[in-house]
């Protein structure tokens, strides 16, 4: 059993099922990427794993424990962390305060973790007292990831972290994400930029219409002709 495992999840908004018996799992120390065409239910799968969308059937397990019925807040306490695609920082608070809020639930001293996050994202170091709303898009994404890291999560989930940033910033962000994974965290992300994302993925899922279409290592999926032709534009 994988560290985080969503098994045969089915659910959606209202009467229509967006996810159909979809299974996604993520392993500690690995980068797992979900790709697929628009409307394939990628973000929905992520939300189902995080408890922001109740599943009609199927289950979600974390480290062997069934967490299907838990609220997102309880999952945060259990060691999961989520970076939404948009509105993922507190714009009128400083970078430091954003990080502090990330560690809101922690009872111990969080100063060490703040330093670790700032070491991971050195670009934020000089901006620590600046308002998050005044940062550039790439730096804001770093704050967003940093905020999610503050709980010292075992699973870090990112919903399209590179949406709307330049290719250089994207590469930089992916490097950081790999670094995060190497510290032993299970990283799971949804990506629109499928090619570069699969390049760094240990495991990749291709979803189509809420169902698993392909599952393999990132490099194997990139090498797969059908995947290339259909989803990666040749």
């Amino acid at each position: 059993m994988a560290f985080l495992a969503g098994t045969e999840m089915t659910g959606g908004y209202g009467a229509i099922d967006i996810l159909r018996s979809c299974s996604i799992s993520a392993e500690k120390g690995q980068v797992t990427v979900i790709v697929g065409p628009n409307g394939a239910g990628k973000s929905t799968a992520m939300k189902a794993l995080f408890g922001m969308l109740p599943v009609r059937s199927g289950s979600v397990q974390l480290d062997g424990e069934d967490i299907t019925a838990l609220t997102p807040q309880r999952r945060v306490e259990k060691g999961m962390s989520f970076v939404p695609q948009v509105l993922n920082v507190f714009p009128s608070m400083t970078v430091l305060e954003n990080l502090e809020m990330g560690g809101y639930l922690r009872k111990d001293d969080i100063r060490g973790t703040i330093e670790e996050v700032l070491e991971l994202f050195p670009a934020l170091q000089p901006k620590r007292r600046q308002l998050a709303g005044e940062l550039s898009g790439g730096q804001r994404q770093q704050v967003a990831v940093g905020r999610a890291m503050m709980t010292r999560p075992k699973v870090l989930m990112l919903d399209e972290p590179t949406a709307g940033v330049s290719p250089i910033v994207m590469d930089e962000l992916f490097d950081r994400i790999i670094e995060v994974a190497r510290t032993g965290i299970a990283v799971l992300m949804v990506e629109q930029n499928a090619k570069p994302a699969l390049e760094i993925a240990d495991v990749g899922y291709v979803l189509v219409q809420g169902e698993n279409k392909f599952t393999d290592t990132g490099s194997a999926l990139l090498a797969n002709d059908e995947v290339r032709m259909t989803f990666l534009g040749g």
């Binding site: 997102p72 807040q73 945060v76 306490e77 989520f82 939404p84 509105l87 993922n88 920082v89 507190f90 714009p91 009128s92 608070m93 305060e97 502090e100 809020m101 990330g102 809101y104 639930l105 709303g133 905020r147 709980t151």
Partner: protein
């Protein structure tokens, strides 16, 4: 030189001191409205009545204390009763939240629905206040009246103009400064205060960070009710307590909150002073002032007073409307919401 000193004292006495006092009272009220707006996301029309309620409880406790001979002369007894007033008002606002507002919050109702709900709360609260204490004008102040009277000032300085400073004015300014200082310290430096700001900034992300909405909302009501009671009691000490007047205070308070940018605490304070100073300065006749500073033959023959005193109260509405038209986000707003 003497003339300039006289002119200066004149302005202090008739404009600066009263407007500062009134500005403090408005700022405290506007802070409460602003906090509710940024955390609960609606314009609370019942805030004036909350002030009224808090003042009424304080007044009732004051009477009880006076009847038992418990006073703190030379200070007003109402200050001793204030904590009780705050406590009961906090409880009332928490009860309203639990039984009225919470339902709509969980349903994520439109802000305009909550606004109409707050009108219902306003009606109930105003009825409650008028039922319990009636509609008469009541005095809260039983302390020493003047810190320095006009005559004392004249004797002291030898100027023609006197400067009278009432004890209630000093108390208002001091208490407002202390409570605003405490509030800002709370919002900037405590974990709970920061969580409140985070919740106001981005409710969903606050949830993802484990910040409990119910806790934030509860604390917001506690703070807003405390500020409302304080503002109401200080206004009552400075002038008097009359339910009808308090009900009308809600508009200058909204004006203050909106002028500085709705939801911005610094803006609420600045707005309070803008409204208070405009109200006092625009309706003050500067005739005597000009007779000190200008040579006699330079004096114009009219226009010492920009707006008739009858419109004193309307000034804040005009400011409100002009700001809403020219710059609805307020003059201090950095956020684009």
């Amino acid at each position: 030189m003497q003339d300039y000193a006289n002119a200066f004292v004149l302005l202090l006495n008739y404009v600066v001191v009263p407007a500062t006092t009134y500005g403090c009272q408005l700022a405290l009220g506007a802070l409460g409205v602003s906090l509710i707006f940024s955390v609960l996301r609606f314009s609370n029309f019942a805030h004036g009545e909350l002030m009224s309620f808090g003042t009424m409880i304080t007044l009732l406790v004051t009477w009880w204390l006076q009847a038992h001979g418990l006073t703190i002369q030379p200070l007003a007894t109402a200050l001793l009763a204030l904590p009780a007033g705050v406590l009961v008002t906090v409880l009332l606002s928490l009860a309203t939240d639990r039984f009225v507002y919470r339902y709509y919050r969980i349903k994520r109702s439109d802000p305009i629905v909550l606004l109409i709900v707050s009108i219902g709360v306003m009606l109930v609260m105003s009825g409650l206040v008028r039922f319990i204490i009636g509609t008469d004008d009541r005095t809260l102040d039983d302390g020493v009246r003047f810190v320095i009277s006009a005559k004392q000032f004249r004797d002291l300085t030898g100027l023609q103009e006197g400067l009278a400073i009432r004890a209630t004015q000093i108390i208002t300014i001091a208490l407002a400064a202390v409570s605003v200082g405490l509030l800002f310290w709370f919002l900037r430096h405590t974990k709970t205060g920061k969580a409140m700001r985070a919740f106001a900034d981005n409710e969903d992300l606050a949830g993802l960070s484990g910040i409990s909405a119910q806790r934030v909302v509860t604390i917001t009501w506690v703070v807003a009710a405390t500020l409302a009671t304080l503002a109401g009691v200080l206004y009552g000490l400075d002038k008097s307590f009359r339910p009808f007047v308090y009900q009308q205070l809600v508009l200058p308070i909204f004006a203050a909150a909106i002028v500085g940018g709705f939801g911005n605490p610094v803006g609420a304070i600045v707005g309070g002073f803008i409204v208070a100073f405009s109200e006092v300065a625009l309706t003050y006749s500067f005739k005597r002032f000009f007779s000190y500073v200008l040579p006699a033959d330079w004096l114009p023959d009219g226009l010492y007073q920009l707006i008739s005193t009858d419109y004193k109260y309307a000034v804040s509405f005009v400011i409100l409307v002009v700001v809403l038209i020219v710059r609805p986000s307020g003059f201090l707003n950095t956020r684009s919401s």
